[in-house]
Symmetry: C2
Subunit: 339 residues, 2 copies
């Protein structure tokens, strides 16, 4: 079906279309890329590619443009992730190393990604559920009020205020603190339920009821409904494509404002071992059907901290964007592992 030359033609079409935004015709294609065949031959190949659904016609007498399926083949078979130049790597590294805390790391990553790729960038904070406890502090705000402060190994700090069913004195809070602290220190949050399982039995009967209630709240807020946070940047880049699809800009912006949508985007595939690409209709997120999403997890293989990536038109520089996403994800992963 698809011999080497046809694939070569597809690659040429994708590359030309991505860089010029204009449907590419047989003639221009045959001479610009040294295919060594005549336009007529190229046309035949194009007809075949179109039969297979890899390219299409805007209208009868215009050039060809790739379909989602065409882009898919392109990223899978015809292109390789483009490594960044040493200069770019250095720039990334020095820019990220200037960060003073986790918030800063995330902010800088977003900015970096959006500038590097000239697309909208998305960065997820290290997921709570996959982090482990560096420190858990219980502060006695008022007789019946506790403040819980959790610091994770990735530097994320979360706090919750708990209203208690009964009042406690400072000693009781101190014993709560040490009970929780000793059991959770160093533990991964997903393991928290197990780590705390023996707690009610081990505690003095006096504070047992309040302890279990605190425990319930702790587990609920930190494990069952961990708050995911996502930061977005570079939305201004979308305006570059406003000419292409004025009617789709709005739904895209709307989708990008929904935390849930973004989470879904990054959550589906945040495997740090490879960069993932969702093309056009492959996105099962309403509103992003006309875009492509390049994502990657960051952090240790097997248990990533979180995900990051970029969102742009299906007509994007896949090789370059994949390279940028991969590079940033790796640096962020290393940075947080070392923190």
């Amino acid at each position: 079906m698809l011999d080497d030359r046809k694939l070569e033609v597809l690659r040429a079409i994708v590359e030309d279309f991505v860089s010029t935004t204009e449907p590419v015709g047989s003639k221009a294609l045959a001479q610009r890329h040294g295919l060594g065949v005549s336009p007529a031959t190229v046309r035949n190949d194009m007809a075949a590619l179109e039969d297979e659904g890899f390219i299409t016609h805007p209208h009868t007498s215009a050039g060809r443009i790739p379909t989602d399926k065409g882009y898919r083949l392109f990223v899978d078979k015809l292109s390789s992730v483009k490594p960044l130049s040493p200069a770019e790597r250095r720039a990334i590294q020095s820019f990220l190393e200037g960060a003073v805390d986790l918030d800063d790391v995330v902010r800088r990553s977003v900015r970096l990604l959006s500038q590097l790729t000239r697309q909208v960038a998305v960065v997820q904070y290290p997921s709570l559920s996959r982090s482990s406890v560096r420190h858990l502090e219980i502060v006695h705000l008022a007789p019946n009020r506790l403040l819980l402060v959790l610091i994770t190994d990735t530097g994320r700090v979360e706090q919750r205020v708990l209203e208690l069913p009964a009042t406690l004195n400072d000693d009781e809070v101190a014993s709560l603190r040490s009970a929780f602290g000793s059991r959770l220190h160093g533990a991964r949050l997903v393991d928290a339920p197990a780590a705390l399982a023996d707690l009610p039995d081990a505690a003095p009967t006096a504070i047992r009821p309040v302890l279990t209630s605190v425990m319930t709240v702790v587990l609920e807020t930190l494990v069952d409904q961990p708050e995911e946070r996502i930061v977005l940047g570079g939305t201004a880049h979308l305006t570059r494509h406003v000419m292409d699809f004025p009617q789709t800009l709005r739904p895209v912006l709307e989708a990008l404002e929904e935390q849930v949508v973004l989470l879904k985007l990054l959550g589906e595939v945040n495997d740090p071992s490879a960069v993932h690409v969702k093309i056009g209709e492959e996105n099962n997120v309403e509103g992003l059907r006309s875009t492509s999403v390049v994502t990657m997890g960051y952090g240790p293989d097997g248990s990533p901290y979180g995900g990051l990536g970029v969102v742009g038109p299906t007509r994007m520089d896949y090789a370059g964007n994949m390279g940028s996403v991969r590079a940033v994800a790796r640096y962020v992963g290393e940075l947080l592992a070392g923190a």
Copy 2:
């Protein structure tokens, strides 16, 4: 110069143009609004208004559109803030009261404002410098590492990790905690330097050096460079005006991504006693010269917690947007005061 009828004509022009987006001519105007005069008379008035710079011509044979100066006059003299309907007030109230914590209040406010006005909404977190201390906790993370947790009266929680020049034991940290706690509890952050002034002298000489260093850091991070946070929402609404000014959309989005710009916007006038409007060129923020900004402070008169508002095209429904901004600002202010 400007008799009542001319002002009436200006009002009619603004109202028509805002609702139709199209330059408004003398004929349509004379009959649609019951002015009781002929189109020719209206034309004379228009010529006068144009001489004064309140309206202008896109080109010779089109209707008139208001200038920034025209909108300014309209806002100042010709319109009054439109109060919300009882139903809207109830909706706002119940929506905001569902919030569980400060983050939630802010998120809901943004969403509310952008839906109410169909514009981009901006909400500033309660400014640290104007808040007072509900609780300050010092946690001993490691021998030479402290975690500072500040909870303000508005429910904002901020934390910083401090690296110490020397190591401390738990007792010393406890004395730090009580020294800071007793002096700062209930104090406004701006008064913190005064409240802490006597601290070095009162402390035991042993920990005096480390105490002053902690104090310096505390004051620096909480008072000198308080971190302001701002949340943005409803950017999708900008796309409605993409037809009007495709070339200005990009700078607007870029400006809105800059925290500094937004702060400037909200910081300039966040007086909770009245709603403020900046029209077009009045904005000394590059990139927002083609927009209007409606803002108001929230919180007690004289010492507002922060500011909020909306950003939209100069051609906006000023009366309605001012009403919405005012209503939301008041509810948020009350809500946080009661918290």
